[in-house]
Symmetry: C2
């Protein structure tokens, strides 16, 4: 059994769940936050540092990797894990979302999407079949179906049409994926903010059968209220014995709300991107280290945080190195942010296991409401 | 005795020396290479990683730190060591060299140099007295005299005039430094490529008395042959019982030649700056990781190197992340370069202690002459 991908549910608290995803490359504790390693690196971090923050799994972007350095090249070099020196699980997206948002001159047909690379203008094709092949070449542990979704708000008939295309692509993805022991294929539910479309999508996916199910088409401009509105019912359409993955989410309060609503996995560039632009996330909310108020502040970002940035450096130092354009600024703030996100996940897992999620969430919001520590 | 700065000479081999500089903040094994932490960070590195490469001491730049974040601010925050999270020895330069090469609108008088900041255009003054005060505020363990030197080649009378001004400034630096147990003040020999001027400068410094002596005014455009020409005689003018520091050097073969000629300490931005521009230094010479020949190469930069870049990553990966503009490129190559430089120093120390420096140097040149490994 050890080489089979499977999910064990340990405890629930309300709709929230905690469990373990077992893979041949290691266990993933859920709810899990997956740092994003777009181009075979979590920006500004060494992989051992990412692991030290508590991450069990990374996300890689098929779109970026197929264009540079190329999936065939990565396969020749032993696969993405070896290439980027990360031996634990990797989930790859299908490229579908990013080809629609990043590529130039894209053209969508029933077959797939043709597009020009944003790197060098070269022509490429992504379809359910090519996406499965590229993710296989990368050696991804969790492969995502190739899908398509409109930005929200969008007319319901556009959302329905897009969802049904994605369901036909889900079938083709499943067929192309085949049987790969130890590797998982996740379906992606679409349907925007319309319950009937979400249910139709979930039924279509379940009839195909997947190792896990993503809630797609959120975090695309609809706002937290609409997102939580969908999460209030959509996870209920999915099997309870498979992991549920909310793609592209999110801010700490998005994460907490999603976990409360039964989500097991999430990913977002936020902690790493914020770290490179001088934004830190703490229990007390966001800190803009660029602000002049930090220039003489000898205190750490968060005195309770055990990350290297908080145990070794003052706000004054972090302010200085950001202003001076030094790489250590992005390195330390990214580490802090990833550490904070993983600590939040560990807190959520413990609270669910202990049946005290409501108290944990109340504390989470109360501490944030206090805001950052006042200037000295 | 433990809180006193002193130098112990362990062995010599020809003119080369190996020893230990004892400071209250730790020992410095000589010959020593000091990575440069210009703005309170060795670029692209965390301080614990710099230490892991084998560095016993860092260099900080007075000119940069006085302008941003300011010496008084660093003093209020507990000094440079605490500010940058490095508790081992730090040497600071005097600001003299950099104010002449970097500042705008500088004006030199007997008293010192007035200049405008390259950061914000603000007016500043550096003199022997202000340089000593700034280095005291930073908390530097090894303080350098404030001096001045012309770029080479220069007319001998300009070199002589400049050297004599620097010697008057050395006297003022010594007086301003005062008595600071546990902290050292180094004099800086000038005199260009003229033996008589070098000797005059050395005699002036010895009559004042310093804890160590730098050979200044080299690595300023004169070339390796001229530099080695000076090093063939100039260290002989200095006391044998004090450390000798060659400022701003250099490439690996410069370092080896300087150590053969009796130099104990060196510093250079080369390993860190090269790392950020895709240049690696190995036993076999320089490797330009940008080169397309590396794109599919599964081999490490140097199969014998134990640094994280060489034990975890292929040339293909390093090529990819450099091309993609990823921060991990500068992080890994800087680490490798600093590791290689420190390994070279350890090799030189061991060879001198074992009386086999000639063999070590012959091997060093023979391995470099082989050049980088051929493409697969």
């Amino acid at each position: 059994m050890s080489d089979r991908f499977h999910f064990t549910l340990h405890a629930t608290d309300g709709r929230a769940r905690t469990g373990t995803i077992h893979t041949p490359r290691g266990e993933i504790r859920t709810p899990a936050f997956m740092p994003v390693g777009t181009a075979a690196t979590v920006k500004a971090m060494l992989p051992e540092s990412v692991r030290a923050t508590g991450a069990d799994i990374l996300l890689g972007n098929t779109y970026h990797l197929m264009l540079r350095p190329g999936a065939e090249r990565i396969a020749r070099l032993g696969g993405l894990h070896r290439f980027m020196n990360w031996d634990r699980p990797i989930l790859t997206d299908s490229g579908g979302f990013q080809v629609m948002s990043l590529a130039a001159l894209r053209k969508l047909t029933e077959d797939g999407v043709t597009f020009s690379s944003h790197v060098d203008g070269s022509k490429h094709m992504l379809s359910p079949e090519t996406s499965m092949e590229i993710q296989r070449l990368l050696g991804s542990d969790i492969v995502m179906c190739f899908d398509e979704c409109p930005a929200l708000p969008a007319p319901e008939e556009d959302v329905a049409k897009s969802m049904r295309l994605s369901m036909r692509w889900a079938r083709r993805s499943r067929d192309a994926f085949g049987d790969r022991p130890g590797h998982a294929l996740f379906g992606i539910m679409q349907g925007g903010v319309t319950p009937e479309l979400r249910e139709e999508s979930a039924e279509a996916l379940k009839s195909i059968g997947f190792d896990g199910y993503a809630v797609g088409g959120l975090a695309v401009g609809e706002g937290q209220e609409a997102m939580f509105g969908v999460l209030d019912y959509a996870p209920g359409f999915l099997p309870t014995d498979k992991p549920r993955y909310l793609m592209g989410v999110g801010k700490p309060d998005d994460i907490v709300g999603a976990v409360q609503r039964g989500i097991d996995m999430m990913d977002c560039v936020l902690p790493s991107r914020s770290g490179r632009t001088g934004q830190a996330w703490t229990r007390r909310g966001q800190v803009n280290i660029k602000n002049a108020r930090h220039a003489d502040d000898p205190r750490p970002l968060d005195e309770h945080c055990t990350c290297p940035a908080c145990t070794g450096y003052s706000r004054a130092y972090l302010h200085h190195v950001f202003r001076a354009g030094e790489m250590i600024s992005g390195m330390l703030l990214t580490w802090h942010n990833l550490h904070y996100f993983q600590e939040l996940m560990a807190g959520l897992r413990g609270a669910i296991a202990g049946g005290r999620l409501d108290d944990f969430v109340a504390d989470f919001h109360a501490t944030r409401a206090e805001g950052d520590i006042p200037p000295l």
